[in-house]
């Protein structure tokens, strides 16, 4: 039992914290917020050069074989700078699904390109009617003589506008009709019949809704052997929730630091805000919740490779708890900044919005406490 960072992990943390502190300041964030791409291709190239895109990929395909703890280290630092590059979409979700489900040929085709920064991915899974239920998919993939025909709609596709390929989940219909299996399909962004409606995402970056109007795909667009991909989707989303949890911790830490500084400087009634016990106790509660969130993000990361129910309970528990802490820390940061906290003139609001996006994505606290309880009954 040892929860101390290894020397390599400390080096990684040092380098990503330095990068974010030096290259990712408020001006940079403002510039990319008004950019139609929503992130900087130059920064993406730097991620590749620093080895962060290759970090969790398998070594035989050009990766560095890192794990969820290393991803968590990156993500926490990304959170501190509100990094908006499509890291979760491409690396944490996309690359992980290809590495898990893909054939050797598919892995060879994609993973080295992800590592060098030349291939960006997105996962299109959620559907409006499914709400947060990962098992509910109505998009269909029908077997044709040439390959596949996809039809349906997806929402909340993270960074889909920037992806070279979108991984789309769909119910497989073969020659005998609906198979009851969900398949994952690699859809080129240029595929006729694929329509992308992208929008600025709450808290930075972009997302999109997509429509598939009988989009025709080649035979080898199906990822892997066509066995049911739901377990892999649940696995990938659990990993993404652990990674996003670490990002939320970084965001919360920045909000706590900023708010603490502000309460020391801001004077009312002739003394600093922090001289009031009600303010000090609020900040103590915020510090405590940041710490609890940090523990839960680490726990989820350390359990991503556990047996499915244990992994899923850790991920849902972390998502629910960190979401709750995030709302508290975010809302109180605004409260303690007073009127200025509600304006776009400070960055407090931007950090808060990213936390709200975190809490919502893949389901909020109520959903994940319920999933945690349901999985507990199955355990």
């Amino acid at each position: 039992m040892d929860l101390n960072l290894s020397d390599e992990q400390k080096l990684l943390r040092g380098s990503v914290e330095r990068f974010v502190a030096e290259s990712y300041d408020a001006d940079h964030r403002r510039r990319i917020a008004n950019d139609p791409l929503g992130f900087s291709p130059l920064v993406w190239k730097q991620f590749a050069d620093l080895g962060w895109l290759a970090l969790p990929l398998p070594e035989e395909f050009g990766g560095l074989g890192g794990g969820a703890v290393e991803i968590g280290i990156l993500m926490e630092a990304f959170g501190r700078g509100l990094v908006s590059e499509p890291y979760v979409a491409t690396v944490v979700l996309g690359a992980a699904l290809i590495a898990r489900c893909g054939t050797t040929k598919q892995k060879q085709a994609s993973l080295p390109k992800i590592a060098d920064g030349s291939l960006k991915l997105a996962l299109a899974h959620s559907e409006r009617a499914a709400r947060f239920d990962l098992a509910k998919v109505t998009t269909s993939a029908t077997k044709t003589s040439q390959g596949w025909r996809l039809a349906g709609s997806k929402i909340a596709v993270l960074d889909g506008h920037a992806a070279d390929e979108i991984i789309v989940s769909a119910h497989i219909h073969d020659h005998r009709g609906p198979s009851g299996r969900i398949g994952l399909f690699l859809v080129q962004a240029t595929t006729p019949g694929l329509v992308i409606n992208d929008y600025p995402r709450l808290g930075g970056g972009r997302a999109c809704n997509i429509e598939l109007f009988d989009a025709h795909l080649p035979e080898d667009a199906l990822l892997g052997d066509g066995s049911d991909a739901l377990p892999a989707i649940e696995w990938a989303v659990d990993r993404a929730m652990a990674a996003l949890g670490a990002e939320a911790v970084g965001i919360m830490q920045t909000l706590l630091d900023t708010t603490l500084e502000y309460t020391k400087i801001r004077k009312q009634f002739g003394r600093p805000l922090s001289a009031n016990q009600v303010i000090r106790h609020r900040l103590a509660d915020m510090a405590m919740q940041v710490d609890e969130a940090r523990s839960m993000a680490l726990r989820a990361a350390l359990k991503v490779d556990a047996a499915p129910i244990e992994r899923a309970r850790a991920a849902s528990g972390a998502k629910a708890k960190i979401g709750k802490c995030a709302r508290f820390v975010g809302e109180q940061s605004i409260q303690l900044h007073g009127g200025m906290g509600v304006t776009e003139e400070l960055e407090v609001g931007a950090y808060f919005k990213r936390l709200v996006a975190f809490d919502t994505l893949f389901g909020g606290s109520a959903h994940h406490y319920a999933r945690h309880a349901e999985l507990g009954r199955r355990a």
Partner: protein, 398 residues
């Protein structure tokens, strides 16, 4: 990073399990399960202390030269976790975890030779004389006075919330020996034989129906000056040192988990009409379980830092605060899970020696008393408000 235990740690886990299986009697187990207050009856607790002592495990936190087992933080974690899982009795914490470390740190050689072996063996049973009716959170305003008379102090005053004073043969107390410029000055740390003439004890019943705490009165109580620990007037320093041990024992999540498991078992049982089938109850159980997961991870993070010689700092206040709040959440959940059975009051104590058929099933007997008595968790050992002050000051610098 690794959450799992290595080969040596697993071997130690087996050793602890073997020890518990051999020494924990059914009576001890049942008595512990049926104790709705913090501390086990001394009969039960000290029998367990003797078993631990025979094994050389009487004081896990002590340095090896005073009889500690020289465990790593991970071993202490395993030991505490296995003890919680098995439901072992509480030992005399006031001796092993409170006064013991103070005597080791600041006591004279004579004091060490006299008291430490008797704590290990369970011959002495200690109580803590800190709070007074006028001095709760503002502890250093205490007024119990010790006046020098030759080789003795003569003590007058009163202490309150004295856990198991009615069982204890010894007390460690903070008393005022002089008045300094600050109220923390002039306090001394004194060891008192509870059989000394002039000491009387008044029981205080808590709202769960238990007699655990007392008020103790001192009327011209004569105590040898040799019973003072460390320097005269420096007692506040020693007392604070002790409070850090009281708060920062640091391994509480395992017990919380067992407490929640008992409530979840009740919720899954026909005795409660399967309370778990209410989505509200099921979700609340998950919420508390997740809070325990978070606390456990924080404890393990602190433990890992300790293994490499780092100082955890003010995090002991976070651990105390969260432990007490989660404990209350568990007991609150319990009180809701048992439904109408919450209305039945069983006044007899101890519950494990009940000589009549209780109105509720035995599994539920402690639930409401634990909820009621448990309101004290966020008050004793420094209230939650005091802990928040400490976090703000020590962690945040405000």
């Amino acid at each position: 990073m690794d959450l799992s235990f290595n080969v040596e740690e697993r071997a130690f886990q087996d050793e602890v399990r073997g020890f518990i299986a051999k020494n924990l009697t059914e009576e001890m187990k049942r008595a512990t399960a049926l104790t709705p207050s913090v501390f086990s009856d001394p009969d039960i607790g000290m029998a367990w202390q003797r078993a631990l002592h025979r094994q050389g495990w009487g004081a896990p936190g002590w340095p090896v030269e005073y009889g500690g087992p020289n465990w790593t933080p991970a071993q202490r974690w395993i030991f505490e976790t296995e003890c919680a899982r098995a439901g072992v009795p509480n030992v005399n914490v006031m001796g092993v975890k409170m006064v013991g470390p103070v005597i080791i740190g600041f006591g004279s050689p004579e004091q060490k030779n006299l008291y430490l072996p008797r704590i290990l063996s369970g011959e002495d049973y200690w109580c803590q004389g800190y709070s007074e009716p006028g001095s709760g959170s503002d502890l250093s305003s205490l007024k119990t006075r010790a006046v020098r008379d030759g080789d003795d102090y003569i003590i007058n005053g009163t202490k309150i919330w004295t856990t198991h004073a009615h069982h204890a043969n010894r007390m460690f107390a903070l008393v005022r020996t002089s008045d300094g410029p600050r109220q923390q000055d002039g306090i001394s740390f004194i060891l008192i034989d509870m059989k000394t003439p002039g000491i009387t004890t008044r029981p205080i019943l808590t709202i769960g129906g238990d007699h655990e705490v007392n008020q103790v009165f001192f009327d011209d109580v004569r105590v040898p000056v040799a019973n003072r620990v460390g320097e005269e007037g420096k007692g506040w320093t020693y007392g604070k040192y002790l409070l850090e041990f009281e708060r920062g024992a640091g391994i509480a999540s395992a017990k919380l988990r067992e407490g929640l498991k008992a409530i979840a078992d009740l919720a899954c049982s026909d005795l409660t009409g399967r309370a778990i089938d209410s989505p509200d109850i099921a979700t609340r159980i998950s919420e508390v379980e997740v809070d325990i997961d978070a606390l456990e991870m924080t404890e393990l993070r602190v433990l890992s830092a300790l293994q490499t010689g780092q100082n955890p700092g003010a995090v002991s206040s976070i651990l105390k605060l969260r432990n007490s709040e989660i404990r209350q959440a568990v007991t609150r959940l319990g009180a809701d899970v048992i439904g109408h059975d919450a209305l039945a009051v069983e006044p007899m104590r101890p519950l494990y020696k009940l000589n009549h058929e209780p109105a509720t099933p035995e599994e539920m007997l402690t639930v409401m008393p634990e909820y009621l008595n448990g309101r004290a968790y966020t008050i004793f050992g420094g209230t939650s408000e005091i802990q928040r002050d400490i976090i703000a000051k020590m962690m945040l610098g405000i």
